[in-house]
């Protein structure tokens, strides 16, 4: 039997012919659909491509229009460009790699309205990047501009139990009570009354008794009894002294603790001051409060575009797994292997020329040109960092200039990115001031943004200079401020402070701002200095400084009163305990001494008369 069915060649040829015709007719549409879908999946937002023409003979692709939807606004485009011309290299295509020798993009615009709402997945790559950048922004602690008036003390200290001093005083009071009860118990345990009674009874027993009547044996017994009682009295004296020392030590300890309450009081002053939210009028704090947010926004925008680019320009050279293509069956994973040094990278844009328009702060549309070189998925293979240069183009003479130079060096494992953006002689954007119904309008000036990132470490600087500073009052915010608490003393005081700050700021005609961001991506800090800080600080200090000082004195007095309410009785309690202890000890000492003297007198009497008796040589010796 023949292994080959020659008649089968006909339908095979028909099938191949059909495929060729299908490709000729539908190939462009298929490629357009596949590329748009792949780009949408990759970016996480809808990418629309129209008018794609593929010419395999020339290795060229032309696209009439490219729209990338804004993931935050489905009716708006982040990028709207066209026509695009792509020159591909043929040989890498055989290896399923895309090397673009040249990309030309014309008519790029940002923010155009879409004809229909875009399909934006909820957790796409762009949205995740935006969320990452928002998280980066949220890490900064930008102080609020505190212009709260000063009459809020009574609202703050309603609960004395918030104060550490009060809490400790209450604890000491309980401790003193316990010590007092324990001391009373120990006094009872001494049983001094028994000792007194025993001594007195003995003295009474032998008062006026002559040894002759007792006889020698009786006298011996009497002397022995007296000596025994005397020893008991001495022992009682010893116990009294020991108890005295213990009680005194305990009282001293409580007194020391009462004195230590002063250090807790200082902490209570600081706590209450924090609750009061006194006005901010130190330079660095003011700068951060006024311009911290806008400075962080500038850096965050740079970081956003860097994170987008980083996904397709990853650092290092390593095998990577990505989810496979979407199909009816399971996608699996597609593994990318390390490419040999002499081969083509998976994706490489050698040079891209982009023309785009962006509306400036004055509302005019300005044209820009950008050149992107060596944007690649394998930077280590290409051996050159990705560079982006952009500049503003003006027809009919230069009115101002904007220049951008960015480098993404991901050839090694540690990414090194830098961005320098300078703008001169152009209308700078409006800067709203948080906490105030004001926005700064720098007008024409210069602005410079420098961002450098090495691995996780970040340094950035934003400098802004303007000699034509103007101000815009936010009427909505001003109305809200004016009507909020209009009739209260609180509201009036706050408006007084705000009017003062607004008056000072609107009198400043130039702006010099220097904002620095340092730290790491996980723990960044911002420091902003501007000429407005000193102007506002000195005026606030002059007017409000005295009020702040008085407020602080009132605050201290209030804290002192609340603390004194608890500590005065405690000090009295400790003093009473000390007096009571001293009194008891003195009484016990006096009583025991009296008994001792009586017993010794009795002993002497018994001993003297014994000597006069016959056989006195055997009489007991005198103590």
């Amino acid at each position: 039997m023949r292994p080959i069915r020659w008649s089968g060649l006909i339908p095979l040829a028909l099938l191949l012919g059909l495929l060729a015709v299908g490709w000729t007719v539908f190939g462009d549409r298929i490629v357009q659909s596949v590329v748009a879908e792949a780009a949408s999946d990759a970016l996480g937002t809808e990418v629309e491509i129209s008018g794609l023409r593929l010419s395999l003979a020339d290795s060229k692709v032309t696209i009439s229009r490219l729209q990338i939807a804004d993931p935050r606004d489905p009716m708006r485009n982040l990028v709207d460009a066209g026509p695009l011309l792509v020159d591909l290299e043929a040989e890498p295509l055989l290896e399923r790699k895309i090397v673009i020798s040249r990309l030309a993009v014309r008519g790029g615009r940002n923010g155009t309205r879409r004809s229909r709402a875009a399909r934006v997945p909820r957790n796409g790559y762009l949205q995740r990047t935006l969320a990452d950048v928002d998280r980066f922004r949220d890490q900064f602690r930008v102080p609020l501009l505190q212009l709260v008036p000063l009459d809020t003390i009574r609202d703050v200290l309603l609960d004395p139990m918030q104060l550490v001093t009060v809490q400790r005083a209450i604890a000491l009071h309980h401790r003193a009570d316990s010590a007092k009860d324990a001391t009373a118990e120990k006094w009872r345990a001494l049983a001094l009354r028994t000792t007194y009674d025993t001594a007195r009874a003995l003295v009474e027993k032998y008062r006026g008794v002559r040894p002759v009547s007792l006889g020698i044996a009786g006298t011996r017994t009497a002397v022995r009894d007296v000596r025994a009682t005397l020893a008991e009295v001495e022992a009682a004296k010893g116990r009294v002294e020991r108890l005295h020392r213990t009680v005194r030590a305990g009282i001293d300890s409580v007194e020391d603790a009462v004195r230590d309450l002063d250090s807790a009081r200082r902490a209570d002053y600081a706590f209450a001051r924090g609750l009061m939210k006194l006005p901010t009028f130190e330079g660095p704090e003011l700068g951060n409060a006024l311009f911290g947010d806008v400075a962080i926004d500038r850096v965050a925008q740079a970081l956003y575009y860097a994170r987008i680019a980083e996904r397709y320009v990853p650092p290092g050279l390593m095998p990577r797994e990505t989810p496979g293509p979407e199909r009816l069956r399971r996608s699996g994973a597609t593994v990318a292997f390390p490419i040999a040094p002499s081969r083509f990278p998976q994706l490489h844009l050698a040079r891209g020329d982009v023309e785009f328009e962006v509306p400036d702060a004055a509302g005019r549309t300005a044209r820009y040109v950008a050149v992107v070189t060596d944007a690649t998925s394998e930077p280590a293979l290409v051996g050159r960092p990705m560079v982006v240069r952009a500049s503003r183009v003006e027809r009919g003479g230069a009115v101002g200039s904007v220049r951008l130079h960015a480098v993404m060096d991901h050839r090694g494992r540690v990414p090194r990115d830098s961005l320098v953006l300078t703008a001169q002689g152009i209308a700078l954007p409006r800067l709203p001031l948080p906490g105030l119904p004001l926005a700064a309008m720098p007008g024409a000036g210069t602005s410079g943004l420098t961002v450098r990132r090495v691995g996780d470490a970040l340094t950035a600087r934003w400098v802004l200079r303007s000699g034509a500073l103007d101000w815009a009052v936010d009427t909505v915010a001003r109305f809200a401020v004016a009507s909020d608490g209009a009739d209260t003393r609180h509201g009036q005081a706050r408006r007084f402070v705000e009017r003062l700050v607004v008056r000072v700021l609107t009198g400043v005609e130039d702006l010099s701002l220097d904002a620095r961001v340092t730290g790491t991506l996980a723990a960044p800090t911002v420091q902003v200095n501007s000429n407005l800080d000193d102007a506002v600080a000195s005026s606030l200090r002059g007017v409000i400084g005295e009020e702040v000082r008085k407020a602080e004195l009132r605050l201290r007095a209030k804290v002192d009163a609340l603390v004194e309410e608890r500590t005065a009785p405690l000090r009295a309690q400790v003093a009473d305990a000390r007096l009571d202890a001293e009194r008891r000890v003195a009484e016990a000492r006096a009583e025991l001494e009296r008994r001792r003297q009586e017993l010794e007198a009795q002993l002497r009497a018994l001993g003297g008369q014994v000597l006069a008796l016959p056989g006195a040589a055997t009489a007991p010796a005198m103590p």
């Binding site: 039997m1 023949r2 008649s7 095979l12 399923r96 199909r327 699996g332 292997f337 083509f344």
Partner: protein
């Protein structure tokens, strides 16, 4: 759905009662199994289709194999994924081969670097001979037992009289 079922039945009937040898039917079935077990939109399936047309094997059996093994492919995708991952990522001895293919012309277009494609293709290679042998044996057994009785039924005569059956006859060896 109904059309697919009808095609399946006609394919089955025509294959079982064709003049093809069990070997031709078995190999045709095994080649068609590739179309069902592996994801259809891949270059290697064009080659399989070409082989079915050009080789002296049962085209009907190939179509039958495609239809029968397509749901099997869907069900076994998790297994194919594991097999593909084991071959692509967890077998260092094969990494130089994959790396060489990654930089070669045309091989990347086969999507061998996808775990499902590689895993299902590898599974098909392993199952090719058993499917071919079992398929041939099943045809022999059928023809020896039920074949003659079924050919006498009215239903069989109706199927074989249809124009679709005439078209299939073009491919009967």
């Amino acid at each position: 759905m109904l059309l697919t079922l009808l095609k399946l039945v006609q394919s089955l009937v025509s294959t079982l009662h064709s003049e093809g040898t069990p070997r031709q039917i078995g190999i045709g079935l095994a080649l068609g199994a590739a179309l069902g077990l592996t994801p259809i939109a891949n270059v290697h399936n064009l080659a399989i289709l070409a082989l079915l047309m050009v080789l002296n094997v049962s085209f009907g059996a190939g179509m039958l194999g495609w239809l029968v093994f397509t749901p099997v492919g869907f069900l076994l995708d998790p297994l194919f994924d594991r097999v593909g991952h084991r071959l692509l990522v967890e077998t260092p001895a094969l990494t130089p081969l994959w790396t060489r293919w990654y930089d070669s012309a045309l091989m990347p277009w086969t999507n061998y670097d996808n775990t499902i494609v590689l895993g299902s293709f590898a599974a098909w290679l392993v199952l090719f001979v058993p499917i071919a042998v079992l398929g041939g044996w099943a045809v022999v057994r059928y023809r020896e037992t039920w074949g003659a009785r079924f050919q006498a039924t009215r239903w069989y005569r109706a199927v074989t009289a249809s124009k679709a059956y005439n078209l299939y006859r073009v491919f009967v060896p």
